[in-house]
């Protein structure tokens, strides 16, 4: 079974089109509504998704793990992490799935592998290089992109990657877990369309703080 996990927080404007575009690509679309205050859950359900609603806002990492817990319960073979704000292109799914089916445990989306994405220059030239450096320092793995929400996990990946970082530092935690569990991974070019700016600089500091605390507390 192939499940798409879509974390969503106040995405009522775009969640319907995201779910509808995902349905032909996967067996089930699971939207984790992270206690949105708008109609995200209603729109997602109307579009045909299974909706899991957190009673309180926990963060994107926690939402992804809730989706993974559910996917393990359904004995999923492959899971896809796909943002709920419509920034990814479903046409990237087929190729990524082929890589997983060839035996790779985790596929990580990258905005810097040939496909042109419209990335704001401050993000491209300042934030992302720093994020890549932080990722490398904390995980020991050098990637062309950092904190890309497009990921695909095979059975072994799903089994070994349990996300404990509730907020945005989960992206670095996932890379750490790939290394720790000797999982095979491959970066894969994905195209990204920004509807909003995304994370701000202050968010980057929160990620570093969460990573340090995560290193201290096991």
């Amino acid at each position: 079974m192939f499940i798409a996990i879509v974390p969503a927080y106040n995405e009522s404007k775009r969640i319907k089109s995201v779910v509808k575009s995902l349905i032909p690509q996967v067996d089930k679309v699971v939207v984790i509504d992270d206690a949105s205050i708008d109609d995200t859950a209603v729109h997602a359900e109307a579009a045909g998704a299974i909706v899991l609603t957190h009673p309180i806002n926990l963060g994107q990492g926690a939402a992804l793990e809730t989706g993974q817990v559910y996917a393990r319960m359904l004995n999923a073979d492959i899971v896809l992490h796909f943002d709920g704000d419509g920034q990814f292109d479903v046409r990237d799914i087929v190729q990524a799935k082929k890589i997983i089916e060839s035996g790779v445990d985790v596929v990580l989306g990258s905005r810097f592998l040939g496909v042109s994405s419209q990335i704001p220059w401050f993000k491209r030239c300042i934030i992302l290089p720093i994020a890549r450096l932080v990722n490398w320092l904390f995980t020991g793995i050098k990637l062309t992109d950092a904190h890309n929400g497009f990921r695909m996990l095979g059975r072994r990946g799903l089994e070994h990657i349990t996300i404990t970082h509730n907020r945005m530092s989960h992206a670095t935690e996932i890379i750490s877990l790939i290394k720790k569990n000797n999982l095979t991974y491959r970066e894969f070019p994905v195209s990204v369309t920004y509807h909003e700016y995304g994370q701000k600089v202050s968010g980057g500091f929160t990620i570093i703080k969460d990573l340090i605390i995560g290193k201290i507390i096991k």
């Binding site: 984790i32 299974i50 899991l52 609603t53 957190h54 009673p55 309180i56 926990l58 926690a62 793990e65 809730t66 817990v69 559910y70 319960m73 404990t164 509730n166 605390i213 201290i216 507390i217």
Partner: protein, 113 residues
């Protein structure tokens, strides 16, 4: 003037010790935590009660110039330790809260079926 300062600190510390004992009785504080805080407040009373010359002499012995500097350094170290402990406690509570919220979310799906 010094006696007023010493009395104020001693009264404050005694109130704090009473509060620690009350929390221990109410099982809001474990034995180790209670011991740590009692030692902390007793140490504070002892330090302010010591004649300044004695504290200064001890400070010079361990390589710090003035007694008041020693008190400041130790206080900062203790404050860092307390903040660290609080971070750990908050993180542990956050993880418990996440587990409860996740269980509730997953259970609600089973109930809907």
């Amino acid at each position: 003037m010094r006696i007023i300062f010493q009395l104020a600190i001693a009264i404050l510390s005694l109130i704090a010790i009473m509060s620690v004992l009350r929390r221990k009785k109410e099982h809001l504080l474990g034995p180790l935590g209670a011991l740590f805080w009692i030692i902390f407040w007793v140490a504070l009373i002892s330090i302010v009660s010591l004649p300044t010359t004695l504290l200064d002499r001890f400070s010079q012995f361990i390589g710090i110039g003035r007694g008041v500097d020693l008190v400041m350094y130790v206080s900062i170290a203790i404050l860092f330790f307390v903040v660290f402990k609080l971070y750990i406690r908050i993180e542990s509570m956050r993880r418990d809260m996440t587990e409860i919220a996740r269980k509730k979310t997953i259970d609600s799906i089973s109930e809907r079926k």
